[in-house]
Every structure is written in C-alpha cells, then in structure tokens.
C-alpha cells in the first residue's frame, strides 16, 4: 500500500532523524565529489576550482535538503518540535505559574481519573465469565395486589410509585425455567447465605457465602483454578456436603495453599469439604459484593436452624439464564410468561389457606434483563454516591481550568507585544495559535501524567471514603482509564487554552505595536471576569454544601442516644446451629459472659439480638390488653443485664432477671414511647400485650418495667416504641455482645478475644469495634461528603483567589500610568483603592449571586444526607458567603494597596 509505505517511511525518518540528516549530507557530499572528479578528468581543473563549480551546478544545498525533508513529510514534525522547545522554555521562565498550573491539573485530572476508575470497575465492567452478553437476569414487578407473599431477597424501588422490583424467585420457578429449553441454554439460581461461621485449622472466622444451584458454574462458564467446580449431583439432598471457595478467600484465609482442595471445614458447625477454587477476579454474580464460599442449595436446609428446606411458597432465589444463540430477550420473555404464571399460582396455592390474602390476586409481571453485569444491586446503590462524587471532582477540575484560563488570559495580554511582532514578521495566525496551544497541551500533558500517578495510589483511598457502604471492587488503572485521562487532559487543554490563544492572536496589530498603554474599564477582560465569576459561583455552591453537612455532623454529635455509648466494645457471634438444644446455648452464653467479665478492665458484659444504632431494624405488630389498637413496636431481645450495662435508665417496675426463662411467665420491659403510644399511660407496669403474628401470637406478655427512651437503628430516626425481652424466653440466635470497659475499650480487645477462644474455640468473632465507631459508620455518608465538599470548596476558593489576585495585579500594573495621572491630578490613596477594588466587588457580587441561586437548588439534592438543618439554612449560606467575600476581598486588596502606594512621579514615567 502506498499509504502504508508513506507512514512507514515517515515513522522511520522521525525515529531515526539524526541518521537521516547524516545520510542526506553524505549523499550530497558524494555527489559533489564525484562531479568534481569528473570535472577534473574532463577539463583539467584544479581540485578547489572543480569543487566550486560542482557546488554552483548543484544549487543551494540547504534549499534542496529542506525540500527533501518536506517531501518526506517532516516539516510538521520540525515545527512541532520547535513549538515544544519554545513551550518548555516559556513555561520554565515563569516557574511559579507553571507549578501552580501543573498542581491544579494534577489534582483535578487525578481526582477525576480515580473516580472514573472506580466507576469503570463498578458500572462498565462485565462479569468475568464466558460470553457475558448472552446472560440474562430475571426479576419481576410487585404491587400490593401481587399474588406473592413469602418473599425473602432483594428489592428495589420500581419504575412507578407503589411498584417494586423484586429479584428473587421460588425454587419452583427456577426448576420450571430450567426445564424450559426452547429459548434458554441454561438457567441457574443463587442466594446469599448471610454471614457464615467457618472453622478451619481450628481457627474460627466469618465468611460471606452464596447458595448456588448445581449448574451455576457451568451456566456462567466459570472453570475452577484449582480442583473442580460444583455440578448437578452436588446439589442433591443426600450428596456429600461440598463447597467451592473464591480466589480472594483462598488467598486471605488459606494463603493460596493448593492443598486446600479436599480439606474439610466447618460451616456453621456442619462439616463441608472444599473441592475447588474459582479463578481470580470472579467474586460471584453480584458485582460490588464478594462471596467467599459457594455451597449447593441442597445444603441450605442443613445449615438452616430449623433443618428444613424453604417451602416453594418462599421466593428467595435470584435467577439468571443464558440465551440460546440468536434468541432475543423479548422472545425469551414471551416463551416464559405462561410458565411463570403457572408457578406463581402453584406457589401461592402451597401456602396455608389462612395466609392467602384474597386481595392479592394479581399475577406479577416478569422481566428479562441484560445479565452481562449480573443483577442490579450494590452496583446501583454505589452509582448514586459515585455520581455525586463525580460531580464534585468534575467541579474541581472545572474551577481549575477556569483558573488556568484566567491566568493564561492575563499572560496572553502581557504577551500581545511578542505575538504582534511574530505576526508582523509573517507568521500566520494559525501558526501562532498552534504555538500557544502547544503550551496548554504541554501543561495538560504533564498534568495528565501526574494525575494518572495520583490516581494510581488514590483509587483505594477513594473506596475508603464513602465509609460504611463500600462496595468490593478492584479499580484498575488500565488502558481504558488512561484513555479517559488522556481525553480529559486534552479537553482541559482546550478549555483553558483556546480563549487565551484567540485573545493573544486577535489581529488588531496597530495599537499593540504602537503603544502598551492601556485604558481601564469594565468592558475590558470580560472573558477573564466571566471565568472568575464562574469560579466563585462553583466554590460558593461547594462551600454551602460543606456548611450544611458540617452542621449535620454537629447535630449528629449532639444527639442523645439514651444510653452510654462510651467505653463500650461490641462484636457479633453466631454459634447457633440446628442440632443444638436451647439450654446448651444459653449455658454457653453464660460461660462466655462470665469469661469476658473476668477480663481485667471489663466492668460488665451483655448481649442482644439487635446491635444498637447499626441501621438494623426488627419490628412486629403488638396489641395491648383491653382491646386497644394494634401498633408496631421495635424488638430487642437481650440478656437480663442489658439495660444496666448499656446505661439505659429503668423508670418504673423491675428489671429483667436471670430467672425469666422458658417455662416462666413471658415478660417484657417497654420504653417510655411505647408506654405512651400503646397503653396511653406513663407506667403501664402489670399490663399485658401480645404479638399479632408469628408462632407465639396470642400469648400474653406482661409489662414488668418501663425504660428510658434510647435510639434504636440510627441517630436520625426518632425513638420508636421499643420492647426488651429476655433472650432466655426466645429461641436461640446469634448475638451482638457488648462489653462495658473502665477505659479505652480497644485496649482490652485482644484479652476479650482470648477469653472467647478459651470458652469455645469454634466461636467466630465478627466486626469487633467500639460502639462509637459503630455509630460513626451509620453517618459515614454525610461525613464523607462533608470532607469531600469542604476540601473541594476550599481548593476551589483558593484557586479562585489566586485567579483574582492575578487579574487584579495585572490590571493595576497595566493601569500604572493612569493611576499615576489620577494621583497627580489630586486623587487620594483611598480613591485609588476604591478604583481598583470596584471591579472586584462587582465580580464577587455577581459570582455570589449566581452561586446562591445554584446552591439553593443544589442543596436540595443532598437533602437526604442532612439532619436537623434545612437545605436553605441561612447560617450555612451566610458563613459560606462571609468566607467567600472575605477571601476574595483579601486577595484583591493586596495588589490594590500596592497600587494606592504608588509614587505618582514614578508611575507617570512608567512605560
């Protein structure tokens, strides 16, 4: 190909430029010498004379060399090289500006790249499985009339109010879909196990798990890295219990030891053999979550405390399928609709008759969704946070670009004379603009490289930022991300480079060449003023957001939780399995508490089913005696010393006691809110209530005491009706253990671990932290956003002030002559000050006005994060305004004061 030959020759010559130049000289030299030899042979000339004539005949060597270079397409390269050299030289001359510009760009591009890498990992990447585009995810739309009741799984708000998207199905549906083979190559299902207790090598820990159908791995097309994956026979009720572990868990727990295959571990006290390890990168179909262990669904029954399989009326399995070649999702949906409707009716019919609410008569609507990224879930939740974070970092970059544009505009004005000279000497406008844009590109290029480096070590920091709900992803700085960085750098260069380049090369040569004296005025420098206004406005929006969030955090810190949250260590244990009888568990809990209380530095130890202020809720409907209206109440099932250890005051009646056990009359303590709302009296001690649903409904429970109000699930939630019942009157379950210590709880953490291990080495401790840390996690989002907006707002304000300082400084230098003249004519220092500051005041006023308008609409978007403060809080807006105006005036006061202290005689001579 001719084009190919040209490209090849071009690259060869660009890369071997010095060879080319030397060869060209050699060739010409050879020509001249041969010509001279011929001339000597034919005409008998002297050598010098012959060479002279040879040169004359040849013509201008340099001209022909240049033509040769041009015919090789090298002229552009030469010009680019000259531009680059010139750009580096000019940038090197103003080091302060260059450093500020590069720092701005590194920060802006780095932050954006880091966020993009996370977004890319979470939202763009497909499941690392065979042909992910063939996969589909099934879900359905639920209304209050849907003929489905026993639902246990994930839900999301649906496309319309009152409609929810539900992702789990009955085992019946999975089975029928699997039999249906006209459109689907395979159908498989899975369901999270909840936290599993694992004992391996006599070490207990917790792991996340997934129950999967036997064809789950073959359906996804995931091969084992070591050992084998699961197959259909593993999923039979009598099959040997086996498990496949993830690469992540293999590395974390077994140090990537290949002999793990064949090892038997205890999963919730049942022995299970590990048969294989999945490849690195595959963490299950729910992107953003990671399942450590995959177990056959048949094992769910054995690991279930009741020991029974879930009935088909319970919808608990998420379902995915693989389309046959050339089948669309629409075709699959059409083919499956009848099957789905049949299974809905069948699983409804399987419910006890008295639980089939006749108003639920609608068939839910099945959906077949693209499955290349697995089910929606943590991905979508993180998307909302990430898009907000993206907005903030994009704002930083925009402010940075605006700032650079402002500074470059100032420089452009300063360089007009230089540019004018070049234009007059015959350079085309395009050529000069290209030169100025090269400078912008050099800055952006260096900024982009720095940004990529910053992002490389900043990406993990970013995942840590929205604490509490961190999805598991592996952000990678891969070619896609680098392409984004490069594009971003180029866009940034155009954003901040084009206006100054246009301005500098505007072709009114006359005045620039003739005179450098300029007149001041408001219409001058409209572009840089507009940019300053934009910067100030964006900064103000961020600062108002920061103010609102800081106030929110302050309000959170002042919430009275109703119990003593200091010096309290919490962790959870779940040693219960179906084979245990309750008295053994209660006895073991007693030993555990006694062992912990024996640790020096521990005051007391208690346990409860629900952790406090951990965003977990459990509520039931209760009915008071005497025919009062049934109301909802939050449940806390706890050890008898719970109130005392937590420091919740007992207001009336007696506390729970160790004698309140199974077989004794059922008792409960209620909080003040419940006394008021359910019984309508402050101390209803001695009265009864009962549960409306569940196995123990219609059993009267006596109120033996009233406790002070305390927060339940979160700081923001108002204290709900809460009842405390002794755990010895309920069925055994996993517990959150709370340890009251005399000093910093973390100092006794390892002693407590040892005490637990001594009591029973198979008990796994999970999530050990202080109660304060637990509370902080629930406000992780507003805290992260407070940090983010504060930092971004401050950076934005700082940049805006640097820009303002630059513009005002330049303005006063340009107007030195005018100022001198005014002073000579009798203007006082104050008048000069006012003259210079007048522009700043105008810019700041407009910027603040626009900023407030945007802040008022923008702050409503973060309304969900706020607590105890309105989005239009005048205090937050006011303090942001004071900060902005103060900083802006200070930034422009310095150059203004310098101008006012000019010596008029010096100023008049200035030129």
């Amino acid at each position: 190909m001719a084009l190919w030959a040209r490209l090849r020759s071009f690259w060869h010559n660009v890369l071997h430029r010095s060879d080319l130049e030397r060869n060209m000289s050699d060739e010409v030299q050879f020509h001249l010498e041969r010509r001279a030899e011929d001339l000597i042979a034919h005409g008998g000339l002297s050598r010098e004379e012959a060479m002279r004539i040879a040169r004359l005949e040849f013509g201008s060597v340099e001209k022909y060399k240049e033509e040769a270079r041009q015919s090789l397409g090298l002229r552009l390269v030469d010009e680019l090289r000259a531009d680059l050299r010139y750009a580096f030289r000019t940038l090197g001359k103003s080091k302060g500006f260059t450093a500020a510009a590069i720092a701005t760009l590194v920060l802006g591009i780095g932050a954006n790249t880091a966020v993009f890498s996370v977004v890319d990992a979470l939202l763009q990447r497909r499941l690392p499985v065979k042909n992910p585009e063939e996969l589909v995810v099934f879900d359905w739309l639920r209304t209050s009339e849907s003929m489905v009741a026993g639902y246990s799984g994930y839900g999301r708000p649906g496309p319309a109010p009152g409609v929810g998207v539900r992702a789990s199905f009955s085992a019946l549906t999975v089975e029928r879909f699997h039999e249906h083979t006209t459109t689907l190559a395979d159908v498989f299902a899975f369901s999270p196990t909840g936290t599993l207790n694992i004992v391996a090598d006599r070490q207990a820990d917790t792991a996340s798990g997934l129950f999967v159908t036997g064809n789950y791995f073959t359906g996804l097309g995931v091969q084992a890295l070591v050992g084998r994956t699961l197959s259909a026979p593993d999923d039979r009720p009598q099959a040997e219990p086996v498990a496949v572990i993830s690469h992540r868990y293999w590395r974390r727990r077994f140090a990537s030891d290949p002999s793990v295959v064949g090892k038997t571990i205890d999963v919730n006290r049942s022995p299970v053999a590990i048969v294989g390890v999945t490849p690195e990168g595959f963490d299950g179909p729910r992107m953003g979550e990671s399942s450590d262990i995959s177990l056959p669904i048949a094992m769910a029954a054995r690991l279930n405390p009741t020991g029974r399989a879930r009935p088909v009326s319970v919808w608990w399995l998420q379902m995915m399928g693989r389309l046959k070649p050339d089948v669309t999702r629409e075709q699959a949906l059409a083919a499956l609709q009848t099957t789905f409707a049949d299974t809905v009716r069948e699983s409804w019919a399987a419910r006890p008759p008295d639980t089939r609410n006749p108003t639920r008569s609608e068939l839910p609507q099945l959906r077949v969704r693209p499955g290349a990224q697995g089910p929606d879930g943590p991905r979508i939740d993180a998307q909302q946070i990430l898009s907000a974070v993206f907005g903030v970092v994009a704002a930083i970059l925009l402010i940075g670009c605006a700032n650079l544009a402002t500074l470059l505009l100032v420089r452009a004005s300063a360089r007009r004379q230089e540019v004018a000279v070049r234009l007059t000497l015959g350079a085309s406008r395009w050529r000069v603009m290209r030169q100025l844009m090269t400078e912008a590109l050099v800055l952006a290029g260096v900024g982009g490289i720095g940004g990529a480096i910053l992002a490389w070590w900043g990406k993990d920091f970013l995942l840590w930022l929205p604490a509490g709900e961190t999805p598991i992803v592996d952000p990678r700085i891969d070619p896609r991300v680098l392409a984004f960085t490069a594009a971003l750098s180029a866009i940034a260069a155009v954003l901040f480079g084009i206006a100054p380049a246009l301005r500098a090369t505007r072709t009114d040569l006359g005045p620039s060449l003739n005179t450098s004296a300029q007149k001041g005025g408001l219409t001058r420098g409209m572009a840089s003023k507009a940019l300053l206004i934009a910067q100030l406005a964006i900064s103000l929006v961020l600062l108002v957001g920061a103010g609102l969030l800081v106030r929110t955090l302050y309000n959170f810190s002042r919430v009275d939780v109703g119990f003593n949250a200091d010096n309290l260590l919490v962790f959870s244990i779940d040693p219960v399995s179906e084979s245990d009888n309750p008295s053994r568990i209660f006895e073991m809990y007693d030993r555990l508490v006694a062992a912990i209380e024996a640790v020096p530095g521990v005051q007391s130890c208690t346990m409860s089913v629900m952790p406090l202020i951990a965003r977990r809720e459990w509520d039931e409907t209760v009915q008071p005696d005497g025919g009062g209206l049934p109301k909802s109440a939050f449940i806390q099932i706890a050890r008898w010393n719970f109130l005392e250890t937590m420091g919740i005051p007992l207001i009336a009646g007696r506390d729970l006691s160790s004698a309140d056990t199974l077989g004794r009359p059922r008792v409960a303590i209620i909080n003040e809110t419940m006394a008021r709302e359910l019984f309508g009296e402050p101390t209803p001690v001695g009265r009864n209530f009962q549960f409306v649903n569940g196995g123990d409904r219609n059993v009267p429970i006596e109120v033996i005491g009233v406790a002070g109000d305390s927060k339940y699930a979160s700081l923001a939630q108002r204290v709900p009706s809460t009842l405390f019942m002794p755990h010895t009157q309920a069925s055994p379950s996993g517990m959150t253990v709370a340890v009251r210590t005399t000093s910093d709880p973390m100092t006794v953490a390892s002693a407590i671990r040892a005490a637990v291990r001594q009591t029973d080495p198979t008990i796994a401790l999970a999530g050990m932290k202080t109660q304060r840390e637990q509370i902080a996690e629930t406000i992780g989002k507003p805290r992260a956003f407070a940090v983010l907006t504060t930092v971004a707002g401050m950076i934005g304000l700082l940049l805006a002030c640097v820009g303002l300082y630059g513009v005002v400084s330049y303005d006063t230098i340009r107007r030195t002559h005018e100022i001198g003249l005014r002073m000579a004519l009798g203007a006082r220092r104050f008048d000069v000050l006012r003259l210079v500051m007048r522009q700043t005041v105008a810019v700041v006023t407009i910027g603040a006005g626009i900023g407030i308008a945007f802040a008022l609409t923008g702050s409503r978007l973060i309304g969900g994060l706020l607590f105890g403060v309105a989005p239009s809080d005048p205090f937050a807006i006011g303090s942001a305004l004071v900060l902005l105006i103060g900083a802006a005036l200070a930034a422009s006061y310095l150059p203004a004061r310098r101008a006012s202290q000019l010596d008029p005689t010096q100023a008049l001579k200035y030129e």
């Binding site: 040209r6 001209k63 022909y64 033509e67 015919s71």
Partner: protein
C-alpha cells in the same frame, strides 16, 4: 550545440524511474544516466534531483541501500520497487498517449 530544453513539469519523476529501471544507481549516477539516455538534451539542476528521489522513495516507488561505488566510496543506491515498476509502466503509457495527442494536434494542417 543546441541549447538544452527546459524540463516539462512532472517529467523528472518519470525520467528518474526510467533511469533507475536500467539498474540500481546512486544519485549522481542517476543524473549521468538521464543525461546519457536523453542525449544531454534536457537541463536538470543537479540539486533538484534529490527532493525528487526522496519523494519517490517516500512513496515506496524506490528502494535505497547503502553500498560501495565504483571508486570504493560509500554511496546510496536507488533501485526500483515492484510498485515503482508498475508506476513506470503506467506513466510511460500515459506519456505516450499525451505525446501522441500533442504531436497529432501540432501536425494538423489548415484545411
């Protein structure tokens, strides 16, 4: 001696291709050979040869190789590529057609 004719634009490339097609040559050799095969009837500014050679090489019509000249000096030799040979044939035909047309036109007598 008849004064040498000015070179028609575009014909230099054709002459170079023709000269090189007779055997690999260095730049000066190409110049001499053009003189030889045209009977020294055309003037070529010697330096102008080189931009043309580079252009033809850049387009992949000529191949170059550093070798030793007849007087044992290092010189850059040009030879025709397959692409160059094709181009020479096409250009020759085009030239002949043009020349024939122009000759016919010039021979036309007033009727």
């Amino acid at each position: 001696m008849v004064p040498a004719a000015e070179l028609l634009p575009g014909t230099l490339d054709l002459l170079i291709l023709k000269a090189v097609s007779l055997g690999a040559e260095h730049g000066y050799g190409v110049l001499l050979r053009i003189g030889q095969i045209t009977g020294n009837a055309l003037t070529i500014e010697q330096g102008a040869l080189y931009p043309a050679l580079y252009r033809l090489e850049h387009r992949g019509l000529l191949d170059t190789e550093w070798g030793t000249s007849d007087n044992n000096r290092k010189a850059k030799f040009y030879s025709l590529t397959a692409e160059g040979r094709k181009r020479l044939k096409a250009e020759t035909e085009r030239w002949n057609r043009t020349a024939l047309a122009v000759n016919t036109a010039l021979r036309a007598q007033e009727a």
